[in-house]
Amino acid sequence: MIELKGISKVYNKSKPNEVKALQNINLKIEAESMLAIMGPSGSGKSTLLNILGCLDVPTAGIYKLNNQEIQSLSQGKLAAVRNRHFGFVVQDFALIEEYTVMKNVEIPLHYSKNKANKKERILTLLDTLGMKEKASEYAYNLSGGQRQRVAIARALINNPDIILADEPTGALDQEMGEQVLSIFKRINKEQNKTVLIVTHDDKIAKQCEGIVNIVDGKIY
């Protein structure tokens, strides 16, 4: 379970280009829920997701993950939390082009303690996403939908509790977008993972259990 209390994020504090990206955010996210985060461009959605995913730390406020305060952990501990609890999916897939599908999915395992039978785990996972036969294909040879499925496999390989997806369908056409969304729904229902999706698309938001609306760094 995630709990944010009075979280703020200020970029370039006390400089002329200071940005208050998040202001006094209070938010509870139940385990195993599936939420959409919506709001205009520049409203702070990505910032929120980065803080949730321990990629960034808040300027103020308390962030509790499973009842543990983690806003003031060291870089190394935050990396471990990231590795164990979070899977990231982003709009442009963030694959390493010169790596094969296999090697891309493997990345989080390098930083994980659980390295047992890597290969089988990756192949099984790719199989559930319909990407098994592409395992030794290079990332630059894949279509957009295929790339996003590889990215989802990478987000899932460490068996995290929470999937953070920042506009995961933004670079895909309608049909591909729907396929990817159905994957997220399946992950949420069958594997009981918490899924947070940042999106502009109402249709996608409607299929989630709830919507968090952000405008100008505040939740409405």
């Binding site: 990345i107 930083y111 990478r154 460490n158």
Partner: protein
């Protein structure tokens, strides 16, 4: 294998060309600096060698400057003879001579030890000789690997063999008692071989330590007065001009000056060897100055190279790093990966330089300094890396 090492090797493999050029640059820098140091080292060795062989402050060499009015003849020959005899017979003086020459050998196969020498308009293949007096051998403490040195009382007889002691490299081509003939039909007989790496210090020309491995040593006979070209193999004049005289007592030079002042043809200058080593010292300082300047240039170049390379590497791979950071990497992991790349390239250059250069200690010292320098040069990129906010990295891809 540690994960970051694997990634570092992967990075190197993926950017082969870039790393090969980086590798060559680092290696050139190591070799260049090593060469600079070993040159300085060689000059120092010459001084050391010289001062070990004799007291340079009591050693002189003679230069003969022609007076305006050239007389020559018997009178001059007598002065030279007197001078030579006085030095040779009196134990207040030790003198030795080394006269460089070339002979064109007729009947042995041309081998790699012969060098091209200009003779008038044409070039010939000839072998380097050094005619030396017995004291030369003592002063520079030369050792033989086989045979013996020529007799101190050896006398030149035109139709007899001249005994020769050959430098170590000749041992591959010749044996003791071999006889060879030069183009003037002079016969030579091998009586000994020097040990490997024998050297002497060239005093009068200030050229430093000279190796004797490729040299043929021949004896000097300057004993006769009449018909010297028939009865001796060198004239008094040649001997005097190429000799070094070591005095027991510095004031003994006066007696030699007294003999020489009767000359109508020459001004005999007795020059202190110290002056020559002073000259050598000065020329060394000058070359050290030039080397230092070059060194600084090279070091600036190398550091700039590393700084630009690593900064560029971080810039290019920001995305890849952020992907690893998604997966649980920290910035320390990334820094380690960058360090390992540099380290691997450095290690390779170091090993290859060790193989190429025979100055192992200098290569080691220089390489360690270069590694520290490389690390110093990585600092700006490490600072850049650690100052970067992850959200910044993510924003860059947008």
């Amino acid at each position: 294998m540690p994960v970051q090492l694997k990634f570092a090797l992967g990075d190197i493999w993926r950017k082969k060309l870039y790393f090969i050029s980086f590798f060559i640059q680092i290696m050139l820098i190591i070799l260049l600096i090593t060469e600079c140091f070993s040159l300085i080292y060689k000059k120092q060795e010459a001084f050391y060698h010289l001062s070990k062989a004799f007291d340079t402050s009591n050693a002189f060499y003679i230069s003969m400057v022609e007076k305006e009015e050239f007389v020559g003849g018997e009178h001059e020959e007598n002065i030279m003879k007197d001078l030579y005899t006085y030095i040779d017979k009196n134990d207040k003086y030790i003198s030795f001579a080394n006269i460089e020459n070339y002979i064109e050998i007729k009947d042995i196969p041309k081998n790699s030890l012969s060098v091209e020498v200009e003779q008038g308009p044409s070039k010939i293949l000839a072998n380097k000789t050094l005619s030396v007096s017995p004291n030369f051998i003592n002063v520079f403490d030369l050792s033989l690997s086989q045979g013996e040195f020529f007799d101190a009382s050896w006398e030149y007889v035109s139709d007899k063999n001249i005994p020769v002691v050959l430098g170590y490299s000749y041992a591959k081509y010749m044996d003791i008692d071999d006889v060879f003939t030069d183009v003037d039909n002079q016969k030579y007989k091998v009586v000994g071989f020097l040990q490997d790496g024998q050297t002497f210090v060239d005093v009068s020309f200030g050229e430093g330590v000279i190796g004797l491995n490729d040299v043929i040593l021949t004896p000097i006979d300057v004993t006769t007065f009449y018909n010297l070209f028939v009865d001796g193999n060198y004239a008094y004049e040649t001997y005097l001009e190429n000799s070094t005289i070591i005095l027991k007592n510095r004031n003994d030079i006066k007696e030699l000056r007294d003999i020489a002042k009767h000359s109508k043809t020459y001004n005999y200058n007795f020059n202190s060897v110290e002056g020559v080593s002073g000259y050598m010292e000065k020329s060394t300082q000058e070359s050290v100055g030039v080397f230092l300047f070059l060194l600084i240039l090279i070091i600036i170049f190398a550091s700039t190279l590393v700084i630009i390379n690593t900064l560029e590497f971080i810039r290019k791979n920001m995305r890849e790093f952020s992907i690893h950071i998604f997966g649980g990497a920290t910035k320390k992991h990334i820094a380690l990966r960058i360090f390992l790349q540099i380290f691997i390239v450095w290690l390779l250059s170091f090993i290859i330089s060790l193989i190429i250069s025979n100055q192992n200690f200098i290569v080691l010292g220089v390489s360690v300094v270069i590694l520290l320098l490389c690390l110093g040069a990585c600092l700006p990129s490490f600072i850049t890396l650690f100052k970067l906010q992850i959200s910044d990295i993510l924003r860059r891809k947008e």
